[in-house]
Symmetry: C2
Subunit: 359 residues, 2 copies
Amino acid sequence: MLDVKFNIRQVARTLSLVENRRPESHAILRAAYKAGRHVPVIGVTGPPGAGKSTLLDRLALHWAEQGEQVAVIAIDPSSPYTGGAVLGDRFRMDRASAHPRVFVRSLSSRGHVGGLSRAVQDVVVVMAAQGFERILVETVGSGQADVEVATLADCVIVVSVPGLGDQIQAGKAGILEIGDVYAVNKSDLPGAGTFAAFLEANLDLIYPGRPGVNQGGQRAGQERAYANAVLHRRHGNAGTDESFWRPPVVSVCALQGDSTEALCRVVEGFLSWQRATGRDGSRRAERFQDHIRRLASGRLLAQPLPAGAGPSLPQLADAVAQGEMTPWEAAEIFLDALSEAWLRREGTVADPVARSAED
Amino acid sequence: MLDVKFNIRQVARTLSLVENRRPESHAILRAAYKAGRHVPVIGVTGPPGAGKSTLLDRLALHWAEQGEQVAVIAIDPSSPYTGGAVLGDRFRMDRASAHPRVFVRSLSSRGHVGGLSRAVQDVVVVMAAQGFERILVETVGSGQADVEVATLADCVIVVSVPGLGDQIQAGKAGILEIGDVYAVNKSDLPGAGTFAAFLEANLDLIYPGRPGVNQGGQRAGQERAYANAVLHRRHGNAGTDESFWRPPVVSVCALQGDSTEALCRVVEGFLSWQRATGRDGSRRAERFQDHIRRLASGRLLAQPLPAGAGPSLPQLADAVAQGEMTPWEAAEIFLDALSEAWLRREGTVADPVARSAED
């Protein structure tokens, strides 16, 4: 563990070095990874307007009041945290972030095309090494970012609200398959009960095999199989003898704080179940595998090609645009050159600060 | 050009083969890429609730009524098109999609982690080869998906609406840097004029160098530089003699159809400017380069490793989780093995149907 524990200015400075890939970040990252410290990472996702920030505030406060050192990472571009970040005021204070045991950090999603989850993974590991005991990650609810947060977190809370047609659609279209826990926020709004029941019914379609429940035959085969494989790996298979987790739907009102404590207990329940079944380790292993694959891919694509190593990427792209070559033929030629160059590279010191093609 | 032109059932079937990577898709994709036909691709993005689908409907109808064959690709998980797709009814009809010259296709964003833009790129090329004359792509407004749509489209329309705090934040946090044209929808709502002025003022910060305008010094240096580089490449640099494009803000009311024709003319104006400055070709080249890079990366990561080629990815991930190795050390070992295996692979026939690691 680094010795900067809870000197907030020092923590902020360390994270800036890591985020900006300063030379000093090499040693910081190395020490953090070697510390091998794992703390619960809770992802909070959902559409803009679902009240994620307010809910996050409640959750962070809850755990802080239990005595934990809590870190919040905001990567949702519509978040007041992140929105503030872009305009220059990196920290916007509200209840939780004013608590001495809560530290809020915003990360911009730009400048990280394809590499955002890698940046978040690094920040999570550095925060854990610095002694934070729980890390909350807020992200926007849209296809790819959702999948990424699901990969990064030990528990994903999907937040939705009643009464917004688009958001019901969003629920249908994907986020029902990444949550470990579902929160219906603004439960004082009309239609909240109906909406929660709607979520439950949709979860029944996705978690077939629950006694007396429809087998979800409506869904297209390929998507069905994909979803099932992911869910069985995460939550077990109700059709077998093994212990399984059927994500609960919790109605809360974050603004008033109604039932947010109950939500925290459900999250703790999920984390306990996950630990008891050994799935915490496999989920973490999945996360590190993804991270290594992304790093490998980024490093390869950033490999400089020596002159005469064949056509350059712009030349290949031009050939594709002219219809002279298909993209996968171009990719093979490109990959041949990259692989050769990689194996013949000079120097073997792995440098985490080297900018990769994904940055 | 393929001979399936505007036999809608045949078009739909062809696209299904491509999307599902059926064996037949090899020949279809090859023929489509070799056709080398380029038609304008218009991306429409913005937060859920901004009325993207309604606006898209108007735009598609406009061009269809001008006699064009228009294709619409919906990849926004909150879209009624895509929402419908996931529940099984792939086509939800409304005004535009009922027009004989408009064809709507929804693409799920799941099952394509990291590979969605590749899938869309393939579909766009196949649609162009089939004779469609304009392709509209609808996506949700969130960081990464936005950047992807910007890469795929020849013109990006960013749609927003007045009165939603979150969406103002979303505007601040990134989408102001990917649009070629900005549409303020629901311009009959109170505050619409103020909101449009707010957008204009923010664009003034982002497009410095316009006479009499703030240089945008508030923004963090790294993000500023990143944004400037991308914008100068796309829109030229106001600080120099070259012709440049300052994205206009167009107020529309898609539901009533107010000013949607004007929006179409602005889009045409942008496309003309882009052609006249040769930027259409460089934008397309950028797109194909990204595509080749993604394919190369996916193929490499999918390369099977022979037994004895060193530690496996799960073993490397475990070593990282235990703190025995940093992820970038693991990535180097993994990449050595992958590159060796790639160069020694058997068979050289490029197969676009082969599943890559990004699927």
